[in-house]
């Protein structure tokens, strides 16, 4: 007759020789189960705090970006009528997405139908596929005119993914500011993309020429024309990655059609 008393079973298991098959399996199972509970517990319990950290970081970067844009702080201080709103946009239709709010965006992005596979020719920012739905920020003046749009960007740098935000001024063709949210670039070299001195060189640069082609780029030893920003010495690949990221996202596969729609006053 099988003895089902758990204590006696446990003691029987411990008394087994270490090399017996039953004990090996039992120990393997117990260790895996306990470790799984530990890892799952930590992940699930700490997830809300981590999400909050990421949201706070994003908010802080957004505020810092707004604070850096020349003249904007004065405009914001003068007028209480400037409102910053968060909008989810559909990039393929160049309009605000129907029925999707920033809260429901993560769920919508889990659906692969909301992603576009990029061909190697299109994929200059090395993304593989890009989301059709993006959360952007619109700063509206007293007359409901869009004064500034802030667009999230992502690309692939020398040391991993780069996340950034670019602010585009009211003519929808001038960069007002740029900020880097996260990156894995080499400290002291590529990581200098986060330094204000370099990022502020983007302010006032034009995005596309009269034909609509995106010309904004990062140029080695250049930075002379109205489209060019001087590259970071010793960080060629990071500089190129930044240029590719901006060209991709401001171009026809990215926010290009949206910026045109805003310029036409559709927002």
């Amino acid at each position: 007759m099988a003895d089902l008393n758990p204590f006696r079973l446990w003691r029987g298991l411990l008394a087994l020789p270490n090399e017996s098959r039953t004990k090996t399996l039992a120990i393997a199972f117990l260790v895996s189960a306990i470790c799984a509970v530990m890892v799952t517990g930590a992940t699930v319990m700490l997830r809300p705090i981590q999400a909050q950290n990421r949201a706070l970081e994003q908010q802080a970067r957004l505020e810092a970006l707004l604070a850096e844009i020349p003249g904007l702080t004065q405009i914001l201080a003068q007028s209480d009528d400037m409102t910053l709103s968060t909008v989810v946009v559909d990039l393929r239709r160049a309009e605000a997405a129907q029925d999707i709010t920033p809260e429901t965006l993560p769920g919508a992005l889990a659906d692969t139908a909301n992603w576009t596979q990029l061909s190697p020719q299109q994929d200059i920012a090395n993304l593989g596929s890009s989301a059709n739905l993006k959360q952007i920020y619109l700063l509206r003046g007293p007359d409901e005119q869009v004064k500034l749009v802030i667009l999230p960007l992502s690309g692939t740098g020398y040391g991993g993914p780069i996340e950034a935000m670019v602010a585009v001024a009211d003519d929808m063709n001038t960069v007002a500011g740029l900020t880097v949210l996260s990156h894995g670039e080499t400290p002291g070299l590529g990581a200098r993309i986060t330094e204000p001195a370099w990022r502020q060189r983007f302010s006032g640069k034009r995005i596309a020429d009269d034909t609509g082609a995106v010309r904004l780029t990062v140029a080695r030893g250049g930075g002379s024309s109205e489209f060019e920003v001087d590259a970071i010495t010793g960080a060629t690949r990071t500089s190129t990655a930044m240029a590719n990221m901006l060209q991709f996202w401001l171009g026809p596969q990215g926010y290009g059609p949206l910026l045109q729609a805003i310029r036409r006053g559709e927002f």
Partner: protein, 217 residues
């Protein structure tokens, strides 16, 4: 006192990095700033102490055929928990350490200690041994980290020590210090310095590591 030397020995005399040349990968990767090096050292110390305690507690019932897998599972789980904890409460730092906290799981210092010490000793000595090795590892990381941060950026823990040219000072930062090769040079120099001072650490050509300790990357 035997317990005390278990802690102090690995700090200098039996240092896991400079004598046993273990854990080099992370010593190169996270030492660009002192703060990152200290956080990494603290995380590793915590992992090696806890893993030592747990593995020492179950050592009598650990089938030897699966003992390495069990040790790695325990170490990896602890590392994930610590990584999640850092992401929740030290977000900035976890962003800077990025993947290297998770890579503690593959750090030979941890597996080396659990395999060679915790498996054969009681929980308390195992924890003392883990603490000593963790501190020894942290010490080397802190030394390399301070030199790299000081000469690479002119700062220590973020405070400006050498005013750099960019901020209007006189010091031209040494960019090499921020790249991985400089950590190799510094580590090599450190090993050389310690072995010139303590000649007993110099390996004779016939010298071979004990079989239980020869996991080394």
């Amino acid at each position: 006192m035997a317990g005390w030397t278990t802690v102090t020995d690995p700090i200098l005399r039996q240092n896991p990095v400079t004598l046993q040349i273990l854990g080099i990968c992370s010593a190169l990767a996270v030492t660009t700033t002192l703060a990152a090096a200290l956080t990494m050292g603290a995380a590793l110390t915590l992992v090696v102490v806890t893993a030592g305690a747990i593995i020492s507690m179950i050592r009598a019932h650990l089938p030897s055929s699966i003992r390495l897998i069990v040790q790695i599972i325990i170490v990896a789980s602890l590392v994930i928990v610590i990584d999640q904890f850092l992401q929740a409460f030290f977000y900035e730092m976890s962003q800077r350490l990025s993947v290297f906290v998770s890579l503690i799981a593959t750090n030979c210092v941890v597996l080396g200690r659990t395999e060679s010490f915790a498996l054969h000793n009681r929980p308390l000595p195992a924890m003392a041994d883990g603490l000593g090795n963790g501190l020894g590892y942290s010490l080397v990381l802190a030394i390399v980290g301070s030199v790299r941060e000081l000469f690479g950026q002119g700062t220590l823990l973020g405070y400006a020590i050498l005013p750099t040219v960019e901020q209007g000072g006189w010091y031209e930062p040494l960019s090499l210090m921020l790249l991985a090769p400089s950590a190799f040079f510094l580590l090599g120099g450190l090993v050389w310095a310690i072995r010139s001072w303590r000649r007993e650490q110099i390996e004779t050509p016939e010298y071979s590591l004990a079989p239980t300790r020869d996991a080394g990357t």
